[in-house]
Symmetry: D2
Subunit: 389 residues, 4 copies
Amino acid sequence: MTTTLTPEILSALEQQAVEVPSWAYGNSGTRFKVFTTAGTPRDPFEKIADAAQVHRHTGLAPVVALHIPWDRVDDYAALRDFASEQGVAIGTINSNTFQDDDYKFGALTHEDDRIRRKAIDHHLECIDVMDRTGSRDLKIWLAEGSNYPGQSDLRARQDRLQDSLQTIYARLSDEQRLVLEYKFFEPAFYHTDVPDWGTSYAQVAALGDRAMVCLDTGHHAPGTNIEFIVMQLLRLGKLGSFDFNSRFYADDDLIVGAADPFQLFRILVEVIRGGGLNHPDVTFMLDQCHNVEAKIPGQIRSVLNVQEMTARALLLDGEALAAARSDNDVLAANEIFMDAFYTDVRPALAAWRESRGLPADPMRAYARSGYQQRIEADRVGGTQASWGA
Amino acid sequence: MTTTLTPEILSALEQQAVEVPSWAYGNSGTRFKVFTTAGTPRDPFEKIADAAQVHRHTGLAPVVALHIPWDRVDDYAALRDFASEQGVAIGTINSNTFQDDDYKFGALTHEDDRIRRKAIDHHLECIDVMDRTGSRDLKIWLAEGSNYPGQSDLRARQDRLQDSLQTIYARLSDEQRLVLEYKFFEPAFYHTDVPDWGTSYAQVAALGDRAMVCLDTGHHAPGTNIEFIVMQLLRLGKLGSFDFNSRFYADDDLIVGAADPFQLFRILVEVIRGGGLNHPDVTFMLDQCHNVEAKIPGQIRSVLNVQEMTARALLLDGEALAAARSDNDVLAANEIFMDAFYTDVRPALAAWRESRGLPADPMRAYARSGYQQRIEADRVGGTQASWGA
Amino acid sequence: MTTTLTPEILSALEQQAVEVPSWAYGNSGTRFKVFTTAGTPRDPFEKIADAAQVHRHTGLAPVVALHIPWDRVDDYAALRDFASEQGVAIGTINSNTFQDDDYKFGALTHEDDRIRRKAIDHHLECIDVMDRTGSRDLKIWLAEGSNYPGQSDLRARQDRLQDSLQTIYARLSDEQRLVLEYKFFEPAFYHTDVPDWGTSYAQVAALGDRAMVCLDTGHHAPGTNIEFIVMQLLRLGKLGSFDFNSRFYADDDLIVGAADPFQLFRILVEVIRGGGLNHPDVTFMLDQCHNVEAKIPGQIRSVLNVQEMTARALLLDGEALAAARSDNDVLAANEIFMDAFYTDVRPALAAWRESRGLPADPMRAYARSGYQQRIEADRVGGTQASWGA
Amino acid sequence: MTTTLTPEILSALEQQAVEVPSWAYGNSGTRFKVFTTAGTPRDPFEKIADAAQVHRHTGLAPVVALHIPWDRVDDYAALRDFASEQGVAIGTINSNTFQDDDYKFGALTHEDDRIRRKAIDHHLECIDVMDRTGSRDLKIWLAEGSNYPGQSDLRARQDRLQDSLQTIYARLSDEQRLVLEYKFFEPAFYHTDVPDWGTSYAQVAALGDRAMVCLDTGHHAPGTNIEFIVMQLLRLGKLGSFDFNSRFYADDDLIVGAADPFQLFRILVEVIRGGGLNHPDVTFMLDQCHNVEAKIPGQIRSVLNVQEMTARALLLDGEALAAARSDNDVLAANEIFMDAFYTDVRPALAAWRESRGLPADPMRAYARSGYQQRIEADRVGGTQASWGA
């Protein structure tokens, strides 16, 4: 039985784009060890070159997100032009207020006005970068919190956060947006200043229309119904972007769909049902790192996972489902739902990919391309990129 | 070393009142078994009589919450007068849309307008009861959701919920409020229509000023920082009430403070810091049941736990804490915090209780009162109250 | 692309048998409400008749597990003969020491020797039933524990449990087995006497070779790697049976594979790798209940889920996987693993089913059979079976 | 009301000793950032000097655990003598097979015999160190596992692990022990080779009498009843040591008792009830790190927390508790239990400390001692110790 992907489905898939993070191409690890690999980029240009490979073999990843200061360069116009030559564009700018000694006890929430101002200024610098790279979105992951009860004034920090965000938001142009990520825990262990979607929503709702929530799929308590949050944020008009990844227990930036593929399916069903697929409001981005697996192939696998699962979600027979629901026929509704999930879309996608001049099997195509051997031979010396630099 | 409770602390404790739930005096259990006990009330009058014992021995529980239909009576004025004679008042009215066969697939969210209207009408009946009992708050715990992916349209249910709540809210008088409870899971197992504080907040914010969030301390994912949510809801002006209880893993309505006393301390610290203690906006209520322990003593222990922990939280030295925080002295701040928690306030509270004509040891006083023996002898025949009736 | 199931795979699938629980055909629910449905059995004979339908349409469910006292009858030989006429056999006997008032504070662990002896005697009665029905396995789910710290002596209970089990084990014939289930929580909320596989293992290892562990897939903390436990118990020679079901957050007896199909796949991969598939040591059983969905179709769906996922697990290319692992090629190994999972085995299974005289689509075949209409018409009056009786 | 600590309690407290980890005095952090602090030791001698301060002010920490290779020195006899001069001894030797590039895919479980042999040899080296330092215990935390389903052969790794441990165990002298730690997750994210107490128990039971389990209080799934495991391991005679620390959600090495003091109390109650307090079989050790708080005071606070909670646990009135349990008086039993927990033992401990020539307030005494200022002034230049070296 061959699955047929309808023209409507193929058209939707054709529009799909997934931003890849520049930091996925650098080394990463755990607090215990960062393993290094041959061929790892030494600078943002090499990261973009690697990211372009992902797009070349999949047609799915035309945009690369940057992280400041990890991707700081002297000439952002040159970086933008380089990306363009490689066939990709520069996307979301991610700020970083967690690696300076000043930020040990907070940044945008810090009690000390000097440090708080420094953190705000860092975001203004990020907006400068956005101006020069043509990026639309400033993404803020607030790695702030405390480790011990009593250590911090939760309420005062929340108020200072709002004040800091107001200042940053005011600096954005009319075409730019601020997206605020939430995270259940880590790197702070007792309290986190933006721990849940409700807090992110309350903070951005107080800013204005161009402030949105970023939903990282790995940033929830076990058992959380994430697709419900997707639905709710779309309903409230505040879902600004996804950070796709997966995890079994703690945040670990595993490949999207690797830990619980059915959860990814349910999330994409809600994205489609809520009008978020290929909608300008909702950026699809990966936020992953590849501690033990190969990096470029890891990214190729990731965007393919998103594409394949989107195809399955698009196969869901909405009319039949609505009818089963109206009958309160739980088993029929579930069967219709699972039927889409269990359909093997991979052969049809491979054929369609080929019809568009892309490799049927991007993983094999990359392996055969010789690119990996080339960078392993060429990138000798220098300092491999990692979270530290 | 004798702990001294300052006049300010004693004054705050003197104002403290905890609503007790009528259903705590009836039988309850798990899906596997409801064990019965001698002396269990057979009707709302007997429940109120039992609740009055809790107040008599503690001075802490002057209000009894009712649950409709479990506490339906022909003459609510008579019930109110009876309560008054017993020295207590009738408080929050809790609705119930989870025990009628019609509600198998939803109530305020149901796709079928007839059933949804029935559920709305039930709430209007509850408001009628409020009018007659003088209750201020209508509390809605939405036991709705679905068990299987695909079974329900999450988004449509959310919209219907808002529509239903609008109708109910419109019926309230200017002095009455609606409080919407959220719950992480149960009795639905896949999705719950109001699973988190963010959803409850978004729903009540769309209603108006007299719609608030109810925070049940047992209704969160493991690892959730509940005191953070307390802080946030107070900050947003939307914390309407507490349902106090505790749990180790799943919702089990254990005695407040029994599972994690330090968590209760942290919650009360945030209540005080956010101005929520003895504030008319924030009702303190128990939502517990006593499956294996004695019921009236179980309630006495519960209100005492709230009182003792409030006393500890009031002992927190805010000035010293602010200084340690400003110094970023994590250990000093934590020590000041823990010092309040570890202080044994029980002897001072016992003495203060006696000074007000209350028993030093309410548990022993109740045991000696003969009340338990009396109700066990008197309440023979009839049907013991439980969640079913 | 049509999936081909090899003769080896089909042979393995042909041997597969899943025990169904008699209680799945009765009513069940949560502590809040048990919804009833038309056609529900009134006695064990009707339950067996229903279970036989599952086997008739799937060829997968030739054995029915009983629960004592819920399935107590005067004449077990008659029940066995009736089952035989219906084309099924009687399987595991499940004991119940959680619904008698005497067991409020324990049964096989109770401090009071009288009650403990009563609980032991109940198990001896279960072995009598086994003798008469020809059952091999006695399954003990220990619903015992405590709700509050301090309530019980954890250690003494553990010792008494071993003593009780020794007495029960001594009564088994050489062909009979004892399987001890573990459960993370519920119905006790603070401590459970057999909360994890380690405890069950330590208890049964002290009994002897015919005492084994029962792994209920829904009885673990969130984030637990269940397939690891499957591997370990097979390695230790102590995996006696599975209770299949699924859950999102708490134990809720959802249809196996419904919450996390990929987890079921991983479990079955380990079963096959460890030699547990179609091995006499390892009984496959469902332990589910159907609170909101139709019961007989719910069971049909469940056994089909086990069959389909077993087929996927059998498709795993072990040689290719071993090679990728030896190369430490994480992505290749994972892709080989996922390839089996994502293969759509349903069409091939439908064709194979038809080739054996079974319906291609058992769900539709049951719906068309008229059985449901017949039992709804016939089973009027009497008391519907549920956990209570 | 002054708490009186009986002579029996004081005698038990006098014998109490807590091993401190050398790595607590070095820098540590998260995968995002390691913040540094002035005065941090540069070598194992300076770590021991710092550890000795903890003992000097508390009388509680006479032993320092080492970590190899972090604490490798040329002359272990010199290190031992230095420790002795400082008033402390060298304790548990902790191995490390997670920071060499060879161990990326396993160490004691690795498929490649060369790497597995290297990991075994590292442990033999550790035993050499034990011989020279007079240490009794070799502690193995197995940081091994995999990140993606399919990546590894769970069963083969388990068998190789047993084989590796056999080789290591065979090298121990009759006075030496091997303790095997388990950990729920991290640094591997999909599977961990020793994830639970059952696996550690099965592995060490197969080794022999001098192989024991190490229970790290932070290494369990949320909701796990840790004191139950303490009870079970003591019952099985296999509790070899504690790694004390605490965590809110994930493993984060917070100060013991900081996250859930009541849990620490319950654990210590089971230690005492099971005969594990001050028993040579059961080593009390801290395994913590101090990311944002001061290190030496962080350790002082930690050992005091253990002491204070032990005192509370020793206050538990066992006779009264047994009587309440026999009566099935849940509330009385819980009240007796909580009474010990809520008793403020700090003033009595301070007085007792002074009577023994120790500071009443070790935190203040350390602050006033000038030691911190001295090391901050002296330890300039060199490389601060951290997990990396």
